[in-house]
Symmetry: C2
Subunit: 219 residues, 2 copies
DNA sequence: TGAATAATGTACGAACTGGTTCGTTATGCA
DNA sequence: TGCATAACGAACCAGTTCGTACATTATTCA
């Protein structure tokens, strides 16, 4: 997506460009059909290069999928990075953060599909990637600090840690995108309908704030 | 699982038994490897019958998967059926219903995987099944009645309908099972750890009740 | 300029996979 | 008892799929 990586090395013989193009196409193909369903020949065909290059750069279908995952995660980590919500009051900060997650999931359905696929495969590619098995904590750290502020000020009463709150927020956002097809087929409701977007967004925020501030009665 | 379907017709030549056995093995295989990843030969091998029988009874891999889905949904619908929570007060009833969903998802990880897989395939098998595209509303109806009671009594303040509340409850339960591998790989936390089970169960209940009863501030 | 090497394309093959053909055996019923 | 038919099995096939061997062209740097 950036205009040009290098000073445009000729036009043919551009390694970085070929590599990136393969990754783009592979992302779409894996998201479309799953790991086993994806066809290497199909990826090659939609590239302006050949299957040979895929193996030249990535070695195997498996490693290609891992590279796709790595890049996809890198993108979202970038987005999570530049949210400065710590100047807001805790309640507003958490709501803002939830909305950011909401927006991001909605904007990147392919990423959600890749994660679903990776879960089917027991996260073995993530486990095999050094890049991915570390660096995922910045988002968690932000939550942790907001949570601490909120507890100090007395606004938050619930007993959660940052990782579990992250799970709660993600679950709603993830479900909405990942389970859209079956939910629509079973209940006739499109969770991604444009007209209902604000409703779900508010629902998420109310849910999280309700949980954090609620007196959680009757148990 | 029932002792015998028919008066045990001989031992060989038992159509119902063969059919059921194929479905059992197919469920496990599809859940393990996804639709495309599942191997018909592998299913046949783990059965005491042959691949020929799979095509004899089900016609195609696709129809077999549909049959697997149909049976899996039938099982959970059965469980949802016999919950009588309408005599409880609305708050307790919703919490009970959420816990039931929680328990059920946890107890049937294969079902969750099948649904994930079906979502990757855009729910095309559900759409193609007459059985599945109807009958899924009993659970929704129960929620709707509880919701009405709660709103009448003033206990519930949130403006949701039954389908969306169902989505909220499901999202948390579903995520916990479906995303366990990636979540563990990225954050080192096992969402299904036995020791934390009660924590998550309470978290879900508090979340839903907090949402329904909370004054949802700051927006 | 002239290698050394990075990048690329073509054609191919071995293994696998969903699905079928052909034939056999048990079973219920007249 | 005998026959129609449901239930079953072994071998096979055509198409596909990941991956590679071999050949070629551009680029870089001494």
């Amino acid at each position: 997506m950036p205009p040009a990586e290098k000073p445009a090395a000729g036009r043919t013989r551009d390694a970085a460009r070929t590599r990136a193009e393969i990754l783009d196409v592979a992302t779409a193909e894996f998201a479309r059909a799953g790991f086993t369903g994806a066809r290497v020949d199909e990826i090659a065909a939609r590239t302006r290069t050949t299957k040979r290059m895929i193996y030249y750069y990535f070695g195997s279908k498996e490693q290609l999928f891992t590279a796709v995952l790595e890049r996809a995660y890198a993108v979202i980590r970038g987005a999570e990075q530049d949210l400065d919500v710590e100047h807001l009051d805790p309640v507003a900060a958490i709501r803002r953060l939830a909305e950011l997650t909401f927006d991001h999931h909605e904007a990147h359905p392919d990423f959600i599909r890749l994660v679903s696929i990776e879960n089917i495969h027991e996260a073995e590619h993530i486990a095999a990637s050094e890049k991915l098995s570390r660096l995922n904590w910045p988002a968690i750290d932000v939550i942790a600090r907001i949570l601490e502020n909120g507890r100090d000020s007395g606004a938050f009463t619930a007993d959660v840690d940052a990782v579990n709150l992250h799970a709660m927020i993600s679950s709603f956002c993830f479900f909405r995108v990942a389970n859209r097809p079956t939910f629509a087929a079973l209940f006739g409701r499109d969770l991604l309908a444009a007209g209902e977007r604000e409703r779900y967004r508010a629902m998420l925020g109310d849910m999280v704030i309700g949980y954090l501030t609620g007196g959680a009665s009757s148990r």
